[in-house]
Symmetry: C2
């Protein structure tokens, strides 16, 4: 990766290093910058401490043209970023009318009014630019250090505020100062299922890594349902399309082909909604051990209500009988975690919601519940359409949370294959 | 925070800075170390690049006694951590029989056998200790630099492997070398609902921040259903209990008291399960706009199946009628997002699953679906027990994902209050 324009990010806040809050801004920014063709050179997490801010700014300015910080620009005493930035660049903090106007605007968007009694937002380092905060109250801080040709931007720590201020306020400023110094990044992602990383690179395709390096930088990443092989390069849309096609042709002629379920970077729920829309099909979901996670993933997407009619979570056997019409005898003979019950759950929820397709999940997420015949991680995914129904068995590693993730993604992949009429039944 | 023992973490991997993967190890380690009384001094994210690893090691060893890295110890070409560490400390990599034995053990736990043909895991820096990997295959690397009295430990990037290797292998080694140099950290958390941060600190209790600083370091953190005020200090269990009681007494005599729903750090689902267990009560959940998220949060906890009987996700009006017995006329007159429908959903799901309590959620998560009378973010939480039922209205900010989180946490808080017989109906 030899992009010309580096960005360093500094995440400021005791709450993150103390484990009270999980940072979302760093991982969001990494995705955002990658798409925009900027190189996230480093990501530093530090405390609300002027000395640490000072040191992190020094290191960041040494390695990058652009420094973005998140956190510490609010109204309370532990918000130290504004003062630390002013002192770093030797600027006085003064009462500024232009900033007061921006703050007033920020308040107006929430139907509130602002006066200097509220806080000291309008005390601002001289020569710094104040930006609107499209989702919050505190203004963003921007300073262009002309002698170094470097840009420093400080945003809020709250993720919904940070992401919007970067997209709508900071990025246009980056373009203004550095327009011709970056070009977009592209990736081709080969998403596999059901084959271990070692089998891919040491058994099926021993020269795959080197072969793919002809196109760009290669990395291999385990995900819930398999290994993603990512090839990254920068260039233009047309170079990307050509690379993508060549990589696809190459893989399709290899032993890996049968394990690939997607050449691309779409999430399962996006693919499911797109296929449902294309074929005008509806679906429903019956969950046991995943406890609603599968439906929740689907409904994360706006527009899902057109195709996803609903679901049931039947944790108890009685609920499986009452709500889904699972046979008490089947439960008795085969147990709740069985192919037969999974099949009946899928058939039952499909009837209940009158949908074209249905999937079901019944398994043992752990850490308890295993028996001699049924180990932790065993799961049956049921499926049903108008003509067919059945179930597939899997055995998944992980802890309870991880298994819920894997079980639900596996079920979503089966739903996708069913909607696309590619399910091997 | 002036703990004597600092830890620096280095997260290694292009996939994180490129936005392909969200790091979980950093936020997990921050929580783990805080509990153990170690100070996470800094957290650096760098690429799979020997020079960057070198520089990050230098900076980390300068500021901390312990350095922990994650990532880059696997079998593929982009795994550079082992070589970089060896070269940093000037150690040769040799073929080691003792490491081969550890690798063999790692494979055995997955029922697999290992030979040197598999990979080069047994090529290892001299004087480095290899540890077991309780959830994976690659051994952990540990090196104690005696002249500096510093400890360096490298674990895998996969979160389930990293967390277990730190808990079971690395932490005992830290204790061995630094036993008396750290003591546990404690926090008292004042969790509020329904009151903005500014109102707390500028209106209700203008001296609260300073008052709480008598006990330790103060921070203020917005969460899904309100502001958490966190007071952190280190000492002993008895000092903690005394501080906690004093802080509680102080707040109970302030105007903030009515907004506090917990003095502590338990999650809503933990509190709900504990109360359900104590009172031996069952519950069920009907969701519309949250799409299964509320049930999924409950079922993240092992043991939830004793009290949570199940739920339904009724996205469509027809499903609300068919599965929950919501009256078509009520839907017609008041609309799906209304107090009346929320109430009937809760009553319906309670009957369906034969539970003591039930909650329901119907709202507008956005970004579409609003009407003139019903703005984005409007939500009704229904509740029902044997004798009473009703609904509460809220208006929540955020985007779709954020609103799903807020809606479901608000519903869980109402469920908790209902189980504890504290719901103001």
């Amino acid at each position: 990766m030899s992009n010309s324009l580096n960005v360093s990010m500094i995440v400021i806040g005791d709450e993150i290093l103390n484990g009270r809050t999980t940072d979302l801004n760093g991982s969001w920014l990494s995705k955002f910058l990658f798409k925009k063709g900027l190189n996230l050179k480093s990501l530093r997490f530090i405390r609300d401490d002027s000395k640490e801010i000072d040191q992190a700014l020094k290191l960041s300015l040494n390695e990058s043209e652009i420094v973005i910080t998140s956190g510490g620009i609010g109204p309370t005493i532990d918000d130290k970023t504004k003062n630390a930035l002013a002192s770093f660049f030797g600027k006085r903090i003064t009462e500024r009318e232009d900033v007061a106007r921006i703050v007033t605007q920020n308040y107006v968007q929430f139907g509130r009014s602002w006066t200097p009694d509220h806080n000291h937002y309008h005390f601002f380092p001289e020569e710094f630019i104040a930006t609107n905060n499209p989702r919050g109250l505190a203004p963003g801080l921007v300073f262009f250090e002309q002698s170094l040709n470097k840009l420093i931007m400080a945003g809020p720590g709250v993720p919904r505020e940070f992401t919007e201020i970067v997209e709508l306020e900071f990025f246009p400023i980056i373009k203004k100062y550095f327009n011709n110094q970056f070009k977009e990044n592209y990736q081709t992602v080969i998403r596999t299922k059901g084959v271990p990383e070692e089998k891919i690179f040491f058994e099926l395709c021993p020269t795959l890594w080197q072969d793919l390096e002809a196109f760009g930088k290669v990395s291999s990443l385990p995900h819930t349902i398999g290994i993603d092989i990512v090839v990254s390069y920068h260039g233009s849309e047309s170079i990307h399309l050509e690379n993508q096609q060549q990589i696809k042709n190459f893989i399709e002629n290899s032993l890996l082909a049968q394990y690939v379920w997607q050449y691309g970077n779409n999430s399962l729920n996006e693919l499911i909604l797109a296929s449902s829309r294309l074929r005008n099909k509806t679906f429903s979901i019956a969950e046991s051990c995943t406890g609603g996670l599968t439906s929740s993933k689907i409904t994360d997407l706006s527009g899902s209500s057109q195709f996803y009619m609903g679901g049931v979570i039947t944790y108890s056997n009685q609920a499986k009988i009452d709500l889904l019409g699972v046979s008490p005898q089947t439960l008795e003979v085969h147990g709740a975690v069985s192919a037969e019950v999974a099949k009946q759950m899928a058939e039952g929820v499909r009837k209940k919601f009158k949908t074209d397709y249905a999937i079901s999940i019944t398994g043992i997420a752990g850490p308890t519940g295993q028996t001699k015949d049924k180990p932790l991680g065993l799961v049956y995914i049921g499926f049903a359409n108008e003509l067919h129904s059945g179930a597939k068995m899997f055995q998944m590693p992980g802890d309870r949370i991880r298994r819920k993730e894997r079980f639900s993604d596996t079920a979503l992949l089966i739903l996708l294959e069913m909607i696309n009429e590619k399910l091997d039944q």
